[in-house]
């Protein structure tokens, strides 16, 4: 029972921390009747809270990206502010590899005195981490709809093969044009040739359905906004994709079937007759840009399309991918949504988009080059605290936007700081598939492998390949889980990593510091240090704040402090 003791102690802390953040024009209400605090304020004061998140060095537009973005700031009278090192280290880890920095990694980066180069060095290091391919394979798996069952039916073995192929392509930094060409033109068994599953991971396997998936995935555009004729012209390229079973259960061969076009067109009346002149054996297809082509009889039409798609002068291809990467890193596409590119949805900064496209071609479709350019820009490194909350500011990237951690990243982060793991299972096929305990959620390939947490926190259902299928909007049930579930409470109480910190017999101040570095990747501010020190059953011996700080803590008080950090916006959001 806490009652009488803790209440005055807590309200006293409240007023202290409120006093500290008066610079943010929060109302100070001194609720403490029993304590005289006026004299003590000075002791904890020198922590203007803003400095925790922001850097006082003025950003200079020294990369081309910044020149193009800051030009807009000038027009809009936006004064850009850089994020602090402790914000940056966390942001970079989460954005580049989907993983929190360890306590040590965070501490070392923050204390590194090479202010000029340390951000760049960290970026280079992160781009080579093994988790890079886990994390980006996860993102691609959403778009490529890698899932064993429902509504896309890949089947577990095929989902694994497909995911492995995507992941190893990312690990070897396969040039993006080759990556896409292989996805579009491969033939073979779904169990053995990963990329053939692109054609199986489409709910609507008609030529028009496949064309829609290709346009969405690689051109960033939705065919339902196209004229029917354009869709039909493109569909012809996919009218000869054949699927046939083998003797092995659920194995399927994807191949070029020159005879299929005829059979299929006769069969599906709902499709516009894309291939009216079938009998001539020379199909005419139309590229989305309107160019007509008679398909050579000795070449898989998918090849013809893929060759067209990846040509450097094809505007769709490079624009879609650089815009997507920008969206991934900055939360908002230069064209937004990143998979809804159309003429009446123009880019907010056309010159910026052009520049990135050009860089992609020059770098021979090396996606990491684009990552590096963006991550090293001041624009990416801006503070997340807005000075101006207009839509224009948002459209022009005046701040790094807040985004809740993706479901997989969030549970991995909780597991990492507590030293626990989750169990992931798939109901398909029976009996249930079990996944090794220590496997992080970002490394799961098959979208059918899941846990209640992942579902609750809006992991993508991988049914359409549209980015917004991943849903990070907050709902009450998520809070019930984070604030009060036995799942999270067990982790806090029993997690080995957290136990090690709490039971380390260090001074409270050192424990608090370690908790902050582990959970929030930064040092606590003096006000936070005081608040944490004073939480718990206090035996107040005097009216001095300093003496109160010598509160004896029980295990559950430490658990509550860790709990509060895990439930803070700072932990839950990329910021």
């Amino acid at each position: 029972m806490r009652l009488g003791f803790c209440e005055p102690a807590l309200s006293c802390v409240t007023s202290v921390s409120l006093a500290v953040i008066t610079c943010l024009s929060l109302v100070v209400s001194v609720q403490t009747a029993g304590f005289t605090l006026a004299g003590e304020h000075a002791a904890v004061e020198p922590a203007p809270v803003l400095n925790i998140f922001e850097s006082d060095s003025v950003p200079v537009a020294d990369t081309q990206i910044d020149r193009l973005v800051f030009r807009k700031f000038k027009q809009l009278h936006i004064q850009p502010v850089l994020c602090s090192d402790s914000v940056f280290v966390r942001r970079a880890y989460l954005d580049v590899i989907g993983v929190l920095p360890t306590e040590k990694e965070a501490r070392e980066f923050i204390l590194d005195t090479d202010a000029k180069n340390k951000r760049q060095q960290l970026i280079d290091k992160l781009l080579e981490r093994p988790e890079f391919s886990d994390y980006w394979a996860m993102k691609w798996s959403d778009i490529l709809r890698i899932k064993a069952e429902f509504p896309v039916n890949l089947w577990p073995e095929a989902a694994e093969t497909y995911h492995q192929w995507v992941k190893s392509s990312i690990a070897e930094n396969k040039p993006y044009d080759r990556f896409v060409h292989e996805l579009l033109t491969s033939s073979g068994s779904n169990f053995r040739t990963g990329p053939v599953n692109f054609y199986r991971a489409v709910q609507d396997r008609t030529p028009a359905g496949v064309a829609g998936a290709v346009a969405l995935t690689f051109m960033g555009t939705r065919v339902d906004t196209w004229p029917t004729k354009t869709v039909a012209g493109m569909a012809t390229f996919f009218s000869q994709v054949g699927y046939k079973p083998t003797r092995e259960w659920k194995e399927e061969i994807v191949f070029w079937d020159p005879l299929r076009g005829a059979a299929q067109d006769a069969g599906t009346s709902s499709n516009p007759p894309a291939t009216a002149q079938l009998n001539s054996h020379q199909l005419e297809a139309v590229f989305p840009d309107g160019t007509r082509i008679k398909l050579p009889p000795n070449k898989d039409p998918r090849d013809v399309f893929a060759d067209w798609l990846i040509k450097p002068n094809n505007p769709w291809f490079k624009r879609a991918i650089v815009n997507r990467i920008w969206y991934w890193l900055l939360g908002r596409g230069i064209i937004h949504e990143p998979d809804d590119i159309r003429t009446d949805n123009p880019p907010s900064n056309p010159a910026l988009l052009k520049y990135l496209e050009k860089e992609l071609v020059t770098a021979r479709y090396d996606l990491k080059h684009i990552f590096r350019l963006i991550l090293n820009s001041r624009t990416y490194q801006l503070s997340s605290i807005p000075r101006l909350t207009t839509l224009q500011a948002e459209n022009n990237f005046a701040n790094y936007p807040l985004r809740r951690l993706d479901a997989e990243v969030l549970i991995d982060a909780i597991n990492k700081v507590t030293g626990t793991s989750d169990r992931y299972t798939s109901p398909i096929p029976e009996p249930f598939t079990y996944i090794p305990e220590e496997m992080p959620a970002i490394a799961i390939g098959d979208g059918s492998i899941t846990s209640p947490f992942l579902t609750l926190f809006g992991r993508s259902a991988r049914s359409t390949g549209i980015e917004s299928e991943r849903n990070n909007k907050p709902i009450a049930a998520q809070w019930l889980h984070l604030l009060n579930s036995s799942h999270i409470q067990h982790k806090l109480e029993r997690g080995a990593a957290l136990k090690t910190i709490i039971d380390s017999r260090q001074k409270p101040q050192a424990i608090i510091e370690e908790l902050y570095l582990t959970i929030l990747s930064r040092f606590p501010s003096p006000a936070e240090l005081t608040a944490a020190q004073m939480y718990g059953d206090s035996r107040v011996r005097g009216s001095s704040v300093r003496r109160q700080a010598a509160v004896t803590k029980r295990r559950k008080d430490w658990v509550d402090i860790a709990w509060s950090l895990i439930n803070s916006d700072e932990f839950l959001f990329r910021h």
């Binding site: 807590l10 909350t389 109901p427 579902t455 009060n484 036995s486 936070e528 916006d569």
Partner: protein, 447 residues
């Protein structure tokens, strides 16, 4: 009810419906445009049901061992459960493992001609709860999610409008394209435990004082949130957090406190998980929750050990369900509460006696049974029939759209209404009858 029947003017009515949905959706960013006109039936329908309890016998419960017994079919079909027993309604007999339900037969009707010919768990479960053909481009929301969508604008209850006891189905996404806001709230825990620890609401070992101290600590420690000002993301998160605390520290959690019930009544429901789930469901009905699902703990996918499983589980199903119907009736709640109970399909009427099954039954979607009660469904009737060995429909097929359509109808929901799709796709609550979507009409004989 989603709209007012007294409005004679069609225009007014539609704009009113629209307004309600806008109210719900403007924040979710969903678009809704265009409406189909309402079906004639729905126009006349006064909503009888306020709440629905769906008891889902996941895995697929055998029909001929339960509610469609075939005593004359012989051992190859009936094993050692061949006996049928009389009920309190003349002429209705049910399986021998349901003596308590036999005494309540006046309160429910049995559909013995449910059919969809689908034998996959996921696909059949989807079909039974959405009415839509599995494998189409869109994945539709379940009936519970549709209720949440249409009933929550007027719902002011403390606990979520769509609750599942105790685990979600897992094998299909109940919310479909509506998004996770329409997921059922899964209670977790065990209603039969000393304390029903509803996941997220009632935490083991944390006193209310500690909850309050923690909450205060969190407010203090939330430095970024306190610094960043009026960020729409933070505001949305804070609002959701407030809602959560209404349950954690507010009165909402009392609904789950089964110790508030008389011990004798708890005994009547049965001191096992399913029995207490039924009791918890009744308490939620009293609290006005529109849609409650009990996912039968354990499962009915009896490929092997079929008869042992039936002998173990059926008495619990019998006791819990019979107590629920009687209790709802006693409290005057049965007229406004639909109870429906079935699995995604039935089981092969012919027993697999050979190894490795050794007396098991496979999946059977050709014909199976559903129990419906309350909320405007008449009791004491049998709808349709299966053939003499329970293999095919003999009379009056009932298809998923017929069953779901009847439940919607009794609840005052127009099943022809358009659903808001995040991408603006055209989607309706139930599909129209077509070559792929069979329908034999609403269950008017028992409505």
């Amino acid at each position: 009810m989603i709209w007012d029947k007294d409005q004679p003017d069609n225009q007014t009515r539609i704009s009113r419906r629209q307004a309600l949905r806008w109210g719900l959706y403007s924040t979710a960013g969903l678009m809704l445009s265009g409406h189909r006109s309402l079906s004639a039936l729905a126009e006349e329908a006064p909503a009888k049901a306020r709440s629905v309890i769906q008891i889902f016998l996941w895995g697929g419960m055998s029909h001929i061992d339960t509610w469609d017994p075939k005593p004359k079919a012989g051992r190859d079909y009936m094993g050692d459960l061949a006996q049928a027993i009389r009920t309190n309604v003349d002429g209705i007999e049910i399986g021998m493992l349901f003596p308590k339900l036999a005494q309540q037969a006046d309160k429910y009707s049995l559909i013995r001609s449910m059919t969809h010919h689908n034998n996959g768990h996921e696909t059949a479960a989807y079909l039974m709860q959405t009415g839509h053909i599995p494998g189409e481009r869109l994945s539709y929301p379940s009936i519970g999610a549709v209720f949440t969508l249409l009933k929550s604008p007027g719902y002011t209850g403390l606990i979520p409008p769509y609750v599942v006891l105790t685990q979600a189905q897992g094998r299909f996404s109940e919310e479909g394209f509506l998004g996770q806001k329409f997921k059922p709230f899964a209670t977790g825990g065990d209603a039969n435990a000393q304390r029903f620890e509803v996941e997220g609401i009632i935490a083991p070992g944390i006193t209310d004082d500690r909850q309050r101290a923690r909450r205060q600590l969190l407010t203090m420690m939330n430095t970024l949130g306190n610094t960043i000002g009026a960020n729409p993301q933070i505001i949305a998160a804070e609002k959701a957090k407030e809602q959560a605390y209404e349950l954690i520290l507010g009165p909402g959690r009392d609904v789950f406190d089964l110790s508030k019930e008389k011990p004798e009544l708890r005994d009547r429901y049965g001191r096992f998980t399913f029995g207490q789930d039924c009791l918890a469901a009744r308490r939620m009905v009293e609290a006005g929750v529109p849609y409650i699902v009990i996912n039968y703990p354990g499962g009915w996918d009896t490929h092997r050990n079929h008869f042992e499983t039936m002998r173990r589980q059926c008495p619990q199903l019998d006791q819990g369900l019979a107590a629920l119907l009687a209790d709802l009736k006693d409290r005057g709640l049965l007229d406004s509460t639909i109870v429906w109970c079935c699995g995604e399909f039935g089981r092969t009427p012919k027993v697999d006696w050979e190894p490795p099954w050794n007396g098991g039954r496979g999946h059977w979607g050709n014909v199976f049974s559903v129990l419906v009660a309350g909320g405007g469904f008449k009791g004491g009737h049998i709808v349709g029939s299966s053939d003499e060995k329970g293999q095919e429909v003999k009379e009056r097929p009932v298809y998923p759209v017929d069953l779901l359509g009847s439940i919607y109808h009794l609840s005052g929901i127009d099943a022809n209404a358009r659903l808001p799709h995040p991408m603006g796709e055209e989607a309706y609550i139930l599909p129209r009858a077509s070559a792929d979507v069979k329908s034999a009409g609403l269950l008017t004989e028992i409505m």
